[in-house]
C-alpha cells in the first residue's frame, strides 16, 4: 500500500495499480469534508509550500484546503510577490525554502519539467500542480474519481476531449490517465490546435465535432487558453464558437446520458454553452469537490512511513 516515489510529477509514470490506490484513498478522504469538524490531525507539524508561478483559483484553493484538512501548515507564494521578480532562479528559491525546513512543495510553473527539475534536487516531496503544456496530474486524478463516481467504472468508456489540445496539460494527463484505466480516448480540435502526431498516444482524432460527439459516454471540454493564443492559430473566437462550442443542439447527437466535464475556469459561451455547463449532464462542480479529496490522498500517500527514501523513477 505505497506509492513508490517521493514525488507526484505526472500521470505518465504511474501504474494502473498506483492510480487505483490513489482513487481508493481519495474516496475515503471525501467523508472528512462532510464532518462537523473538517480536519484530521494526520499532517500535524508538517509544512507545505504552495509555489505558484502561474495564476490559479481552483487548484491553489483546493491544495490549500486539502493541506488544512490534514492539519499541515502551509504558505502560498506567487511569482508576482516573490523574489523571482528580483531575478532569483527557481533552484535558489526552492533551496532557500528548504533551508527553512519544509516537507512538501506544490509547484505550478509555466515551464514544462520545472517540478521534475526541483524534485531531483530537494529532499522534500514535490507535487506537480501544472507544468507548462506538459502535465497536470492531480487534475486528471480528480477527473478519474469524478467519472468513477458517476459511471461506476472507466474501463471501456468512450471519452472525447474537445478543444485546445495543443496547449492543454489537462488533455495530456487525462489521455494517459484514461488510457491506463482502460477507456477509449478521442480528441477533437481545429487542426491548428491539434498537436502533430498526437495519434501516437493511441487516440482517435476528429476535426468535425458533430461526427466526434456520436456514441461518446463522456465529453471533456477544454478551456480555450486565450493567454496562450498569440500565434494566430484561431482565425477568430467567433469561428471557434460556431464550429466547436458544446451547445444543447449539438448535444442532441450524443448519448442520452452523456457526461459533461470541464477543468475550469469556463469561458462561458466560447467552448461551452452555459445551458450545458449548468445542465443535468454536467459534473463540473463534482470535479471541484473531488479535487480536495484527491489532493488529500496524494499528501497522505507521499508522506508514507519513516523510510522517506528518494525513489528513482
Amino acid at each position: 500500500m505505497e506509492i513508490k516515489t517521493k514525488d507526484l510529477l505526472g500521470i505518465e509514470n504511474l501504474s494502473r495499480r498506483e492510480i487505483n490506490i490513489i482513487l481508493d484513498t481519495a474516496e475515503t478522504m471525501r467523508e472528512i469534508s462532510e464532518r462537523a469538524i473538517r480536519k484530521v490531525p494526520y499532517l500535524r507539524g508538517k509544512t507545505v509550500v504552495n509555489l505558484f508561478f502561474e495564476a490559479s483559483t481552483r487548484t491553489l484553493a483546493s491544495f490549500s484546503l486539502a493541506e488544512k484538512r490534514l492539519s499541515a501548515d502551509s504558505i502560498n507564494l506567487s511569482s508576482s510577490s516573490s523574489s523571482v521578480l528580483k531575478g532569483e532562479t527557481l533552484l535558489d528559491t526552492v533551496r532557500n525554502l528548504e533551508a527553512m525546513k519544509i516537507d512538501f512543495v506544490v509547484i505550478r510553473h509555466s515551464m514544462a519539467g520545472a517540478p521534475h527539475f526541483i524534485a531531483k534536487r530537494l529532499k522534500a516531496s514535490v507535487i506537480n500542480a501544472g507544468d507548462g503544456t506538459h502535465e497536470h496530474p492531480t487534475q486528471a486524478l480528480l477527473d478519474l474519481l469524478s467519472l468513477k463516481e458517476r459511471l461506476g467504472s472507466i474501463e471501456g468508456r468512450k471519452v472525447l476531449i474537445v478543444g485546445d489540445v495543443m496547449h492543454s496539460r489537462v488533455a495530456r494527463s487525462n489521455i494517459w490517465a484514461l488510457k491506463k484505466m482502460g477507456a477509449e480516448v478521442s480528441l477533437c480540435a481545429p487542426p491548428t490546435l491539434m498537436p502533430y502526431k498526437i495519434e501516437n498516444m493511441g487516440v482517435e482524432v476528429f476535426i468535425d465535432i458533430d461526427e466526434a460527439i456520436e456514441e461518446k459516454d463522456v465529453i471533456y471540454v477544454l478551456r480555450i487558453q486565450k493567454e496562450r493564443q498569440k500565434g494566430g492559430l484561431l482565425p477568430s473566437l467567433r469561428e471557434y464558437i460556431e464550429l466547436y462550442c458544446i451547445t444543447p443542439e449539438r448535444l442532441k447527437r450524443a448519448k442520452k446520458d452523456v457526461v459533461i466535464m470541464h477543468p475550469g475556469p469556463i469561458n462561458r459561451g466560447i467552448e461551452l454553452d452555459p445551458r450545458v455547463a449548468d445542465g443535468e449532464h454536467s459534473i463540473i462542480l463534482e470535479q471541484v469537490t473531488n479535487g480536495v479529496a484527491v489532493r488529500m490522498a496524494i499528501l497522505y500517500l507521499l508522506s508514507g512511513g519513516k523510510s522517506g527514501e528518494v525513489a528513482e523513477e
Binding site: M1, E31, R35, V40, S303, K306
Partner: protein
C-alpha cells in the same frame, strides 16, 4: 516476526455468550436503549458492534444506530512505522451530539487506538458520554484508559499476541493466544 499458537482463549460459543452478556450490561447500565449509538473500530470492532446491535434488538426490540470508525489518520505512531496503512472509510450516518456512544473494539492493549478513536468521535460532535466495550482486555495500558464492558480479561506478556478471528473476516469465530518467536537477526 513469526508466531506460534499457544491456545484458544475463547471459542465461537464463548464469544457469543460474552457479546450477549455485554449487550445486557449495556442496557442495564444505561436503563434501556434510549440515546444509545454503537460505533465500531475497523477492522473487526465494527463487526462486533454489528453483533451487539443484533443482540440488543433481540432483547429490547430496538435497532441502535451503527457507525464505523477508521482511526488511521489519528494514529500517533506515524513517525515510527515503516509502511503506510490503507485507509478504510469512516461512516457515522447519524449525529453523535447528546448521544451515549458505545465504542466497540476487539482487543484493548496499550489504549492508543482508543485514544485516537475518542479524538475522532469528538470531531463529529459532542456526545453526552462515551463508553468502551471490548471483547478482550489483555492489559499493558500506556494511557489512562479503561473499558466499561469486557468479554474476557486475558493477562498476557509482552511477547504474546492476542488474535481475534471473526467469521466475516477470518472464516471462523475464535480468540487465539500466540507466542512471538524472536529469532537471531530479527
Amino acid at each position: 516476526m513469526t508466531t506460534k499458537e499457544k491456545g484458544t482463549v475463547l471459542d465461537d460459543v464463548q464469544i457469543k455468550r460474552a457479546l450477549t452478556r455485554i449487550s445486557h450490561e449495556i442496557l442495564e447500565r444505561n436503563k434501556g436503549a434510549k440515546d444509545l449509538v454503537l460505533i465500531g473500530i475497523r477492522n473487526r470492532g465494527d463487526i462486533l458492534a454489528g453483533r451487539i446491535q443484533a443482540h440488543i434488538e433481540d432483547i429490547e426490540g430496538e435497532k441502535l444506530p451503527l457507525g464505523v470508525l477508521d482511526i488511521t489518520l489519528y494514529r500517533d505512531d506515524f513517525t515510527s512505522i515503516d509502511y503506510l496503512p490503507q485507509i478504510g472509510k469512516t461512516e457515522i450516518p447519524f449525529n453523535v451530539s447528546g448521544k451515549i456512544v458505545i465504542l466497540v473494539d476487539d482487543v484493548l492493549y496499550t489504549g492508543r487506538t482508543v485514544r485516537a478513536a475518542l479524538d475522532e468521535i469528538i470531531d463529529f460532535g459532542r456526545p453526552r458520554e462515551i463508553q468502551l466495550a471490548v471483547l478482550i482486555d489483555r492489559g499493558h495500558r500506556e494511557l489512562p484508559i479503561r473499558p466499561d464492558y469486557v468479554g474476557k480479561n486475558v493477562p498476557t506478556s509482552d511477547n504474546e499476541l492476542v488474535e481475534v478471528k471473526i467469521k466475516e473476516v477470518d472464516g471462523e469465530d475464535r480468540v487465539v493466544l500466540r507466542q512471538v518467536e524472536v529469532k537471531d537477526g530479527d
